[in-house]
Subunit: 383 residues, 2 copies
């Protein structure tokens, strides 16, 4: 495989963008990316999206967007892996460029979720779980995560409030991210008094959905400009677990995170001690904890300790969610994997201002689809 | 890129399989493929599917199927390009193997359509067209194709009955395909008297939907057994056109077919005169005509001539739809691209019995998503 580099990034603000269509939003991110890459077009378009066929009455998203952004005639299709659709699309584009078949690609993740009634969005999110064996029993997607969190608290003796640092850190960082949905800080009291969503997950444990798109421009490494802005893909791996949580040997272990991070570390010739910044998938605070443990940053059952010991902020030992994470930047599901990658590129370029991590040489992004069913891990280094 | 070969194929009968779930059907095709390839598992799974999120309440289809078929832990995701999802998934798997990232993959196309009310399926099919600019105006997917067919007849002076040979040929061939949905012949009278669906498309111009799955097992060519059953991918290309028919310079030309077939011919070092068998996308008889013209088998406006001159049957100059085509084998939309590829492999292996084409050395499959918006062309040769 050829090595591949990211030479351009783009993103939209995440919010309730009722004045913009699905294609408008994706176009915004793509045009920003083209401008940032100083390119006029790419050879192919890979679209990460989960639910356009479920709530936007729109499939055939590759052609739909290639048409809109002026990539007339170019190869394009959509990749879907629930909330990991963004990273899955990135990996598809990566392999196409790495294979030598094409020399440039745009990968865009996009989701338009807020035009719907909330119960329709809840139903759409549940399509990430097993329709026959989980959802049919009446459990929602947040409900599944609540079951995991409750079990985790029971097993290891943590209190709900021990998870607070994850949400507080995410909000604190989002204040400095102009693209974040929730650009406000929260206090421990706000966390503790937030309305319950699905016990023990309250509103401050759960990430907000939103409309948004993020994109990257990729080329073979030997075609990337050496201007200090290019970033090389040092590791890329995907793995799956059973789709139903109840089918797992251990519901408190993200086996697909363990498998994909192990491969990514090996490819990049690195390990947890060398990761300078980590954009993890904090769709719910329990997922942040399980991701940290699966990736070797905490012993099993000890994930909350990293937050309580104040190690996860931008000046800490392991900065996470430096642009707000899913919790405060927002979680437009099929776009999230691309937001994470864009943010790692921003960190490697040194473009993060108040939440810039010092001396970043290696960054990692991990994107989770379903309750841990599909997990992709990517490691990036400055060129 | 490494060259890639197909070493195993599998498919299910297409029909109203109310006793089987989405995963049951996909599993049937995958297990047949593993048996045919004499392999126990692959490194990755690529799923071609259009509407699981629209009508089956199920996204995250990669993990969902990897789990069911025992590929625990393996990389898996879904690729969507409307009715071209099958070929798009094949091309994604192809690039992953060609890149050197993996040494084996299963590509499965699956669709479960018949558990729904007909109007829900009609709405789901319309998600292949432009939700805002076509469907919102009240036009259905068959309606769009009817507009194209009417214009074609007007422009070139063909009568409706001139399209009959395509449907008659497809049905005649399906009689010998145990996996076909409609294993019956039809006469010219049946064609002429069929009920109208969307004028001028009648029931015999339109392919039946269905539940079904088809799959292939791919490996690098240098790892394929030399037993006369392996088939090499000689050409693979994808292209797009505007998603809305009204945006095209010429609605009677499949520009994405022209672009993708041109690339595929160049890669394979071949041309229309060397194609021994062609599985084209006869979702409607007008699409068969436009595909033949775009691929260089007929002059513009002359596609129906091939049927009227009796050249498209298995002993003719250009055999098409040798296993029944979409018209009679059936069209489980996201699976169709894989059925076409499986059928070309059967022809190259000489496994087609009564509809076997003689001396097949080169076969081509073309899969269309939307009203010509996404088109993939693949060329295969015996190893």
């Amino acid at each position: 495989m050829r090595q591949v580099a990211i030479i351009g990034i783009g993103q939209t603000i995440i919010g309730e963008r009722w004045d913009r269509s699905l294609r408008d939003i994706a176009g915004e991110a793509v045009f920003s990316t083209l401008y940032d890459a100083q390119r006029e077009r790419a050879e192919a378009l890979f679209v990460g999206n989960m639910m356009s066929g479920t709530i936007n009455n729109q499939n055939n998203l590759g052609a739909y967007l290639a048409d809109w952004i002026g990539m007339w005639g170019d190869e394009a299709y959509k990749i879907e892996a629930a909330c990991a659709s963004g990273a899955a699309a990135f990996r598809s584009g990566l392999m196409a460029v790495a294979s030598g078949e094409i020399d440039s690609a745009i990968v865009v993740g996009v989701e338009k979720m807020t035009d719907q009634q909330p119960h329709d969005v809840t139903a759409a999110l549940a399509t990430a779980a097993d329709a026959d064996w989980e959802v049919e029993q009446g459990v929602s997607f947040v409900g599944l995560n609540a079951l995991i969190m409750r079990r985790y608290m029971h097993e290891y003796g943590w209190k709900h409030t021990d998870f607070a640092p994850f949400s507080i850190n995410a909000h604190a960082n989002a204040v400095y991210n102009p693209f974040a949905r929730l650009q406000n800080t929260i206090t421990l009291e706000v966390y503790q008094k937030a309305p319950m969503v699905a016990d023990p997950i309250n509103l401050m444990d759960a990430s907000p959905i939103g409309d948004g798109a993020a994109a990257v421009f990729i080329v073979p490494l030997d075609q990337a400009p050496l201007d200090g802005r290019s970033v090389v893909v040092a590791g890329s791996a995907a793995a799956t677990d059973t789709i139903s949580v109840h089918s797992r040997k251990d519901p408190l272990v993200l086996a697909a995170a363990q498998a994909s991070v192990k491969q990514a570390y090996a490819q990049a010739g690195t390990g947890p001690e060398e990761i300078d910044v980590f954009e993890l998938h904090d769709a719910f605070s329990i997922m942040a904890v399980l991701s940290l443990e699966a990736c070797g940053f905490a012993e099993r059952g000890q994930g909350p300790r990293l937050g309580l010991d104040n190690q996860i902020h931008p000046k800490g030992r392991l900065p996470i969610c430096t642009r707000g994470g899913l919790k405060a930047r927002g979680h437009p599901v099929g776009a999230t994997g691309l937001y994470q990658i864009v943010e790692i590129v921003q960190q490697l370029r040194g473009e993060c201002g108040e939440t810039q991590v010092e001396n970043v040489r290696t960054g990692m992004a991990q994107n989770i689809g379903g309750s841990g069913a599909t997990i992709l891990t990517h490691i990036f280094k400055a060129v």
